[in-house]
């Protein structure tokens, strides 16, 4: 009971403070727009996807951008632990007569909730990527965002618990966040990657998250084929190796990862300070 109250309290505080950070909200809208409009459109204009020539690169990249945005949003939620440490607020939490795992879990749930907001913003951008959605797809996307962000926030709670100051943040950014992003299949399909990279990608939980997003997001879109009837995007993506696994497999791996990472986050945070 006490644990639940702590989770709720931390969760609500995450949310209250998030709503007051105008710049963070602007970044949440601006960053994916930048990627979609400039990077997505630019690459689409100059390149075709091997084996799935009729799929626009921007459609392929759109679920990847959602994955990327969730990655960054979740990381910022968890990294706020270091700000709390530097600004002293963490002490107030650490001396309270509450279980530490509750604090860690509240943090992860807060991050996951904020990531759902991020997804709402991205869902509004779907037409830019030539994607058709339905109510069911939108709900699936939101739930998936929650699950993936919960896993990632938990992971960074574990990382942040070991970090002393914001100085080490650059290192984490370059050697943890970027590899997770690059090796998630967000920017290029796993099927065309070299063998060693495939192995690394298969070890990255976000790969399954991005794959699950493609399974869900491509399900309602039809692609025009020159000289024939329109083909469902999902079928075409499967045939072209752009979608690797089935949705239930992706979900299974994501759920297991989320559980393991939540445990790791709670454990690491309990040992902090």
């Amino acid at each position: 009971m006490r644990g639940l109250k702590v989770i709720y309290t931390i969760w609500l505080r995450e949310f209250i403070t998030f709503m007051r950070e105008k710049f963070r909200i602007i970044a949440m809208i601006g960053q994916p727009l930048l990627y979609l409009l400039i990077l997505g459109k630019g690459i689409t204009a100059g390149m075709r996807l091997n084996g799935a020539e009729n799929v626009d690169y921007i459609s392929f990249m759109y679920p990847g951008i959602i994955g990327m945005s969730i990655l960054f949003t979740s990381m910022f939620s968890a990294i706020s632990i270091i700000w709390d440490k530097e600004f002293g607020f963490l002490k107030e939490v650490l001396v309270a007569p509450v279980p530490r795992w509750g604090v860690a879990l509240g943090k992860s749930l807060g991050g996951a909730t904020i990531a759902m907001f991020q997804s709402v913003i991205l869902i509004c951008m779907a037409p830019l990527a030539g994607i058709s959605l339905s109510v069911v797809v939108v709900i699936q996307m939101l739930l998936l965002s929650f699950l993936i962000s919960f896993a990632i926030t938990s992971f960074f709670v574990a990382v942040a618990s070991r970090m002393e100051s914001m100085q080490s943040f650059q290192v984490v950014m370059n050697f943890v966040v970027m590899p997770i992003y690059f090796l998630s299949g967000a920017m290029f399909p796993m099927s065309s990657a070299p063998g060693w990279m495939k192995t690394l990608m298969a070890l990255n939980p976000l790969t399954y998250g991005v794959d699950a997003f493609r399974n869900v997001i491509f399900s309602r879109t039809l692609v025009a084929v020159p000289g024939g009837p329109a083909v469902p995007l999902l079928d075409m993506a499967r045939a072209g190796g752009l979608v690797h696994w089935g949705l239930s497999f992706d979900l299974g791996v994501m759920t297991l990862s989320a559980a393991a990472l939540a445990a790791a986050g709670a454990w690491a945070f309990s040992r902090a300070a």
């Binding site: 006490r2 109250k5 702590v6 709720y8 309290t9 505080r13 209250i16 403070t17 007051r20 950070e21 709390d84 530097e86 600004f87 002293g88 607020f89 963490l90 002490k91 107030e92 939490v93 650490l94 001396v95 309270a96 007569p97 509450v98």
Partner: protein, 325 residues
């Protein structure tokens, strides 16, 4: 009155450095107990051990009947803490900071509203409860922290240098609040300070230096140990030995001044002026203060010494952090 804090042979070592070198003391329920000592004397370390934030290297500390090393959660529920550095969330309002605290300390929902009014009134912040803490001055933040520390009616409130860096007006206001809450709620107050005048407000004072307690008593009794008035003489270095031999007193030297005690100091002045005509630059006669007690016990003035290397480093970090805020 029963003891609410009982410390026996408490030791804390950081590697080779001994911060707390075996201290014993008891604090009675409902009193204001002060730890007086220079920076690096072991005051904050002791508070951290009592508040379960650090584990001691030896000895035992009991708080409200719980061993701080064995039952940290029970101890945490009984105490309130106000740190040297602030620990508020500046992005939340005063009210939200209190709400957060009430939730963590399991203050019942129906009690929260009245408690909040009570503590905010006590620190004169009722009209600012909807403001973001970011907009508060240093003194207001400190008052809000004290209010927050009291919200769950702790049996012991720890104040670590509660008035550090505050202006005299705010310091007085905070002291008024501390005494009020002791009277109104019956909270025991355990505080550290290196301001002598502040320590006068305590019921009992422990003077701590180099991790050891040099004396524990009421401020009045401590001053009584001085015996008479304090005479401070400014003059040449040769005075040190001559004063000692001529008046048969213990003389402490700080800078170019010599401190010693004399019964009825005012009548002594004409005598010393006659004895050392032309060699004395200045004479002061003072009622004994805790400063004199400290000087007598440790042979040094509390301000003149440097803190330990660790301490000054910590202060630099704090300054640097404040600068970035």
């Amino acid at each position: 009155m029963p003891d609410i804090i009982r410390v026996e042979g408490l030791v804390k070592k950081f590697g080779e450095f001994t911060a707390v070198a075996g201290i014993d003391f008891t604090v009675q329920a409902g009193e204001i107990f002060g730890f007086l000592g220079p920076n690096g004397a072991g005051k904050s370390t002791t508070i951290k051990i009592l508040a379960t934030l650090l584990k001691g290297s030896g000895g035992k500390a009991m708080l409200a009947g719980y061993d701080v090393a064995v039952s940290p959660n029970e101890v945490r529920q009984c105490i309130g803490l106000v740190f040297q550095d602030q620990s508020l969330d500046e992005r939340m309002t005063a009210e939200e900071n209190l709400w957060f605290h009430a939730m963590l300390y399991d203050v019942p929902k129906d009690l929260f509203a009245t408690r909040m009014e009570q503590v905010l009134t006590m620190v004169d912040l009722t009209d600012r409860k909807k403001s973001l803490v970011r907009t508060f001055s240093g003194g207001m933040k400190r008052r809000l922290e004290i209010a927050r520390g009291l919200l769950h009616h702790p049996r012991v409130l720890f104040l670590d240098e509660p008035t550090l860096g505050l202006d005299p007006q705010t310091r007085n206001a905070i002291w008024k609040h501390v005494r009020k809450l002791r009277d109104e709620i019956g909270t025991t107050v355990f505080m550290t300070t290196h301001y002598m005048d502040e320590a006068e407000n305590c019921d009992h004072i422990a003077i701590i230096d180099h991790g050891k307690i040099q004396a524990i008593d009421t401020p009045a009794n401590l001053k009584r140990t001085i015996g008479g008035d304090t005479i401070v003489v400014g003059g040449d270095d040769g005075l040190l030995d001559e004063l000692r031999s001529k008046y048969n007193v213990e003389v402490q030297k700080t800078g170019s001044e010599f401190h010693f005690q004399m019964p009825s100091g005012a009548e002594f002045v004409p005598r010393i002026v006659a004895d050392f005509a032309g060699r004395i630059r200045s004479i002061q006669v003072k009622q004994p203060s805790l400063e004199d007690v400290f000087l007598k016990l440790t042979g040094r003035a509390i301000r003149e010494q440097e803190g330990s290397a660790l301490d000054s480093m910590r202060q630099n970090v704090q300054l640097w952090r404040r600068g970035r805020r």
